[in-house]
Symmetry: C2
Subunit: 223 residues, 2 copies
């Protein structure tokens, strides 16, 4: 089976979401290993014991990126890194707009890490005129009334939503109508969009619930 065949097969059978979520974790760890320059190769056993993931799971995940290793030796760190980059499309970046330049929005505007993961936030938008016309962390902030036009003109596909609950749905509608394909939603409400639009809801309440339930259980068991 050649490479492009493999890619087609991979695109057809959906990749498990847990695997997708683990790949960046391997990547970050492998970057560290590479920086240390101690070993050219690494095994699933090593990766797994360091990250608290079963070796077999690491192997399964890496296999999805077309990585291949040598028995006894392991995988070449350099190759793993570039396999993950290729697989996740981190080589070519996608442009995005961010809507709502409050505390969280400003923090995300300034976060340098996204570029590494193929995301380039090219501008911010806000309805508060006091915040527009200036740069925040080197990113220009425009009034929200310019958003639809600019989405169309630039062909922007990803919108990042960091606005208060009460206006989240309205701004989602605005972006969808302007032709956005995906919304990364940091507002604390679930937004309704047409089926073909992709929404990734970053729900801090959900995460907090998982954390505090685990904490409650652990405090009960260790009496």
């Amino acid at each position: 089976m050649n490479g492009s065949n493999h890619k087609i097969k991979m695109a057809l059978k959906a990749i498990p979401e847990p695997t997708l979520r683990r790949l960046p974790i391997y990547y970050q760890y492998l970057k560290q290993i590479q920086a240390e320059k101690k070993h050219e190769h690494i095994s699933c056993t090593q990766i797994g014991s360091e990250l608290n993931i079963l070796p077999i799971q690491v192997r399964k995940d890496l296999a999805i990126t077309e990585a291949s290793g040598k028995p006894k030796l392991g995988y070449r760190v350099k190759h793993l890194l570039s396999n993950i980059e290729d697989f996740l499309g981190w080589n070519n970046t996608t442009d995005a707009y961010l809507v709502g330049v409050g505390h969280l929005g400003s923090a995300l505007l300034g976060y340098q890490g996204f570029k590494e993961y193929g995301l380039n936030i090219i501008a911010g938008f806000d309805s508060d005129e006091a915040k527009t016309g200036i740069e925040i962390h080197g990113k220009m902030v425009f009034p929200v009334k310019k958003l639809p036009d600019m989405i169309k003109r630039m062909g922007i596909k990803i919108g990042i939503l960091t606005v208060p609950s009460y206006c989240a749905q309205d701004l989602a509608n605005l972006m969808v109508d302007a032709g956005i394909h995906a919304i990364w939603n940091f507002s604390p409400v679930k937004i309704m969009v047409p089926d073909e639009i992709i929404v990734q809801h970053e729900n801090l309440a959900s995460s907090l619930v998982v954390l505090s339930k685990k904490l409650a259980v652990s405090m009960r068991t260790d009496k």
Copy 2:
């Protein structure tokens, strides 16, 4: 089976994490319904169709909180809300410290929503002296060297980590040594802690990967 028996059984068999993550979503939706004051009751069918979740799954999830409804009528909105609150322990709040008062840390310090979810961030800490000794969003910021003492003195169990990658592990160690039980980690690196410590890693790279893969697939299928 009486109520306390039920609680013991629930505590023993682990609650599925997906269920835990959905409960706050139901809660937020039910709050809206309650505010509208149109209906006293609601069915799983309604909740499901609104949130794009299968009714049977909604019913299974709600059953875990001991909720009970009436055939044909549905559940009382008021009761569902208080069941979820009770189940998730949102009635009594837990205190937490936040470490790293940068952009993201400040945003979280000022986020009012946590209180509703039983989390009370009582103070921030930073190693930059220019940021300490002042209040941010009404929360006092202390120098990080006071952190261990204050964790011990106040018996703080939850630490929120919003620091740059390079010092995340050090500060995690500091908190663990001081006796913290759980760390909510917003830094972009995986931190290593003893087995008994709970870590919830908020990984934006993972979420972004899921979003962009879905986007890539959708753009490929609708040619």
